[in-house]
Amino acid sequence: MTNTLLSTTEISAIPKQSGEPIIEIHNLEKSFGKNHVLNKFNLIIQKGENVVVLGKSGCGKSVLIKCIVGLLNYDAGSLKVFGKEIAELPQQELDEMRARIGFVFQNSALYDSMTVRENLEFALRRHRKQKSKEAVDQLVKETLTNVGLLDAINTMPAELSGGMRKRVGLARALVLYPEIMLYDEPTTGLDPITAKEISSLMLQMQKKYNTSSIIISHDMHCAQLLANRMTIMIDGINYAEGTYEELQKLDDPKTHPFFE
């Protein structure tokens, strides 16, 4: 890809990379009253690809990934995940599709009345009913071992540090072996060292679980480490798209501040 700014139509016409597209977003629009958050947004995620979405606070990045999992309804455009239009899915199919997507919240959103074990078991018991109690326990322990938190299995979320909460949030998203991971500012609110640890852990987990992902982040270290491709969202459109190096070299007053 060349190091040039792309128009919305040009972005939608980006040649497909190897692999099948698992998320296809075309001309997506979402408004809250008079505030047009997404304004004909386009993005295609190929299988195995990690895309970082950059943008100023409040520009609609979180709205985008909430539309992808059906937490928010979009006003116009098309949003297909695994080839199915999200807005047309009945509730049961939407729930089945959500089980194939892991979502890591900005503030982890751990269930604070449950232990770490129960947090991981919550979705597992409801989606993998055929699994025995021992198999569920084994899967929970294996996932917690992967994020390095097996010792905290019986701890309440209130007793965990910020970094540990992020790890548990990641483990909870991974326990169902999702095909897509959506990260909403995964390193926000962490000190630089812990933020780097979490970014490295995300990379390890992406390789181990073979996931595709959309990462909403302001953390350039995280973006540089994880992104196969980046898109910069300005005024509800993907203003620029390319690899980290390509975007860094762009001489544009709107994109340059992200790399300073």
Binding site: F105, Y111, R126
Partner: protein, 274 residues
């Protein structure tokens, strides 16, 4: 040129005399409609699996067992105070022997169900409103939804079922404790045995005193759970929203207790049980 505009002062009439529904009235009907839809969603999901039995039992423990000390103490004091205050008047008319029956009927029929329901509206309603509001604000409900589970079933159905079952039980226990308080009050002032007191109470308390009170207590429990869950589940963002949810859950469910009680009295009278 449009003739409508030729009428002098036509534009002023249109601006000032147009029928405007006050925002307070609009909000009231919007809230009432949303609450009814919320209740409809509860009934639709109540009868279909998966059933969150473990969570419902846990909520029964939290809502029922943990409210018992407060309900018990309140009921005891009510029984004691009402008996002590009623006694002088009855003594004046030489009707002291009617004291157990009179206090027993008024406690079982009206005072205990309403006062305990109000206590539950304060304790349980605020707790559910604040807990669900906090879960909403910290995106825990969204997290359940994106994991492909049904948060409404896990959070709302279990709590409304628990309050509907536990409030009547708390009221029955409260009735018993308040009668014991009443017995102690009688015992302080005069000589009466435990068996004689309760014999006098139950000789005069009939089926039609107990059953309407018992039935309305289920509605009290349902209203407390429904309003607490509705307010918490629809909490607006921020800590202020959580406080507001808890507060309005208490205010509205307390008001509903009185409204349900008023309707229950009318129905009881209509059926000839008064």
């Amino acid at each position: 040129m449009n003739k409508r505009n030729d009428i002098p002062g036509r534009d002023k009439i249109a601006d000032t005399d147009r029928l405007k529904i006050p925002s307070g009235v609009m909000n009231f009907f919007t809230e009432a409609g949303d609450t009814s839809r919320f209740a409809g969603r509860f009934f639709r999901q109540l009868f279909f699996p998966p059933y969150e039995i473990k969570e419902t039992i846990r909520q029964c423990y939290e809502i029922g067992y943990r409210s018992l000390p407060l309900v018990g103490l309140t009921a005891f004091i009510i029984g004691l105070v009402i008996t002590l205050q009623s006694r002088p008047t009855l003594v004046e008319f030489g009707a002291e022997a009617w004291l157990p029956a009179m206090v027993g009927i008024s406690l079982i029929r009206e005072i205990c169900p309403v006062v305990i329901a109000l206590i539950c509206a304060g304790k349980i309603g605020s707790s559910i409103g604040a807990e669900l509001g906090s879960m909403k604000v910290t995106e825990q409900i969204d997290a359940m939804e994106v994991s492909g589970t049904n948060p409404f079933k896990y959070i709302v159905v279990s709590r409304i079922v628990s309050t509907t079952l536990m409030v009547p039980i708390l009221i029955i226990i409260g009735d018993a404790i308040s009668l014991y308080g009443s017995y102690l009050a009688v015992k302080i002032k005069g000589e009466v045995s435990f068996s004689l007191f309760f014999h006098q109470v139950f000789e005069n308390v009939v089926f039609s005193d107990v059953i309407p009170a018992f039935i309305k207590s289920f509605f009290f429990g349902f209203a407390i759970g429904l309003i607490g869950c509705y307010k918490g589940y629809n909490s607006k963002k921020g800590t202020e929203g959580v406080g507001r949810s808890a507060n309005s859950a208490v205010v509205i469910s307390s008001l509903l207790v009185f409204i349900i009680d008023l309707i229950a009295v009318q129905i009881t009278e209509f059926l000839g049980y008064l």
